[in-house]
Amino acid sequence: MADAPIISITDLTVTYAGASEPALRGVDLEIRAGEAIGLVGLNEAGKTTLAMTINGVIPNLLPADVTGRIAVDGRDPTVTPVRDAARTVGMVFDTPEYQLSQASVAEEIALGLEGLALPSAEMPTRIDAALDAVGLAGFEERSPMALSGGQQQRVAIAAVLAMEPRILVMDEPTSNLDPAGTADVFAIARGLVRERGMTVIVAGHDVEALAGFADRIVVLDAGRVVHQGTPAEVFGAVDQLRDLGLRSPQVTELAHALAPAAGRLPVTVRDAVAWLGSRR
């Protein structure tokens, strides 16, 4: 991993135009290239605001007052046009359908490539590679509107991957998906980090899935970063999270109930089996 962080945020405060309260307050955060980050927090905690500031949608598309410093891959997204930031940061949102507008999967993926002014001769290769990465090889001519929610979300991811960004930000990508779709999306996210060295940030509520995916968890509460660390560190603070209205993975809650003073608590089923085994 490189030494300098790929995302560097210092004392970031974001107040939407017309809002009386800031959505983000003095956020300090550093993310290194190739990290898998899980972002948790209640519904209005600021996860979406943070995600959209990283690629410059805030303040370039959604007017907001932004103070503090933010650097993404060496550039300041608040003054970079979103279309340029799109080369570095790809974004996937929570409602699959709302991201699709073309008549075929291939055209949907090509949309971003057209915007990057990629020569049309190179497009088919990129499209194929992107579909392979999300397990939808052969879906080029299918109509996105006729696909299942999970498949649609994977098309949205492919559409972003084809642009070969260094960073992928996913804002509650599995909220509207069933368990099968959720598993697929997280598997893709893990693969992107492990095999392509991409920096992937996933915001959401599925703490069990995030615990298995992330290298680091960041907890937001009312616009502030209140906790960050490894999944074991963050989710191990079971009572703290409960006070914030959040929860830890069930296996962590179990371990905490059995051994409140224990050191490192398990966050996945495998960890938990081993942890319980070692307690005997």
């Binding site: 959604l62 279309r83 080369r87 974004m91 709302y98 507008s101 291939a106 949309l111 002014a117």
Partner: protein
């Protein structure tokens, strides 16, 4: 996940010569046809154009689709023929002599000819328009418009509007069912009012999310873009477009001279044709009326 079906006249994927033809050429010829169709009242060239339109559609593999859509116009066309034949407005000042009498109705050949020309105009424009619409993919059309230097934003707004129609339809149905599930009665406009807020709030949210998603994929308003879809647009296409304009101009001239109203005034149409057409149109029209009344009574 339910599929969203587009409107009945949405372009389907196809690979015929017409599908692959530059949309600008198709639009030029369509414009030429419209101009010519309104330049003449002579049914012969009008039906001629209609036949050519159908032939073109058939060669592109969409002949039956065009015929099915044209069939929707049977009520209108038959009523035009019926009314024109028995009471042609051009004979209002007196000066026409009926060529046949059916009970209380007097049939005028001037009316039949005028009726045929109005129907012919309708069918001519429809058949060519459908041939163009059904074979032109919206993305190609917008690409063509972009080459004409139409601002990208206008392009985007147009395509978004087209897509929103079936989407809004579906949203409306869902919202209406949510209101009915809470006991709402009535089907009048007042009952629909509560549905507008959620539908438009949802539509606004959807468009906003889509815009953000698109912008996040480099969909800016300025700067060069390349195109994924391949549409041939070279010298051949330019020639074809110019040919369309020439045909249009020639057609208008013909309409003003050899196909003009004065020329067709002296034509004599066989009585049997007048009566036969009238009876056919009347039967069709009556049939449609009866079917309509039956379905209203059944609802």
């Amino acid at each position: 996940m339910r599929a969203t079906t587009g409107p009945a006249f949405a372009a389907e994927r196809g690979s015929s010569w017409l599908h692959r033809l530059d949309p600008l050429v198709k639009l030029t010829w369509l414009l030429a046809v419209i101009v010519v169709a309104f330049a003449t009242f002579d049914p012969v060239p009008l039906f001629g154009i209609a036949l050519v339109g159908l032939a073109v559609a058939a060669s592109a593999g969409i002949g039956w689709r065009v015929v099915r859509v044209l069939a929707i116009f049977i009520p209108i066309t038959s009523s035009i023929l019926v009314i024109q034949t028995i009471a042609p407005p051009i004979c209002a000042g007196g000066g026409c002599v009926p060529v046949a009498t059916l009970g209380p109705l007097e049939l005028y050949q001037e009316g039949t000819i005028r009726g045929l020309s109005l129907v012919g105009r309708l069918v001519a424009v429809e058949s060519v328009a459908l041939a163009v619409i059904l074979t032109t993919h919206p993305s190609d059309l917008f690409g063509a418009l972009a080459r004409l230097r139409v601002p990208y934003v206008a392009n985007l707004m147009l395509s978004m509007t087209l897509q929103l129609i079936p989407i809004l339809q579906r949203e409306f149905e869902i919202v209406l069912s949510a209101q009915r599930a809470r006991g709402m009665r009535g089907t009048g406009f007042r009952a629909l009012l509560p549905s507008f807020v959620p539908v438009f709030a949802g539509a606004f949210q959807r468009v906003q999310q889509l815009t953000i998603s698109l912008e996040s994929r480099a969909f800016g308003a300025t700067g060069a873009r390349t195109s994924y879809r391949h549409i041939r647009s070279g010298t051949r296409e330019r020639v074809a477009a110019i040919a369309g304009v020439v045909v249009g101009v020639v057609g208008v001239l013909a309409g003003l001279t050899i196909w003009s109203a004065e020329q067709s005034a002296g034509v004599v149409v066989p009585v049997q044709l007048v009566v036969g057409l009238f009876l056919l149109a009347a039967t069709l029209f009556a049939g449609v009326l009866l079917a309509g009344i039956r379905s209203i009574l059944r609802a």
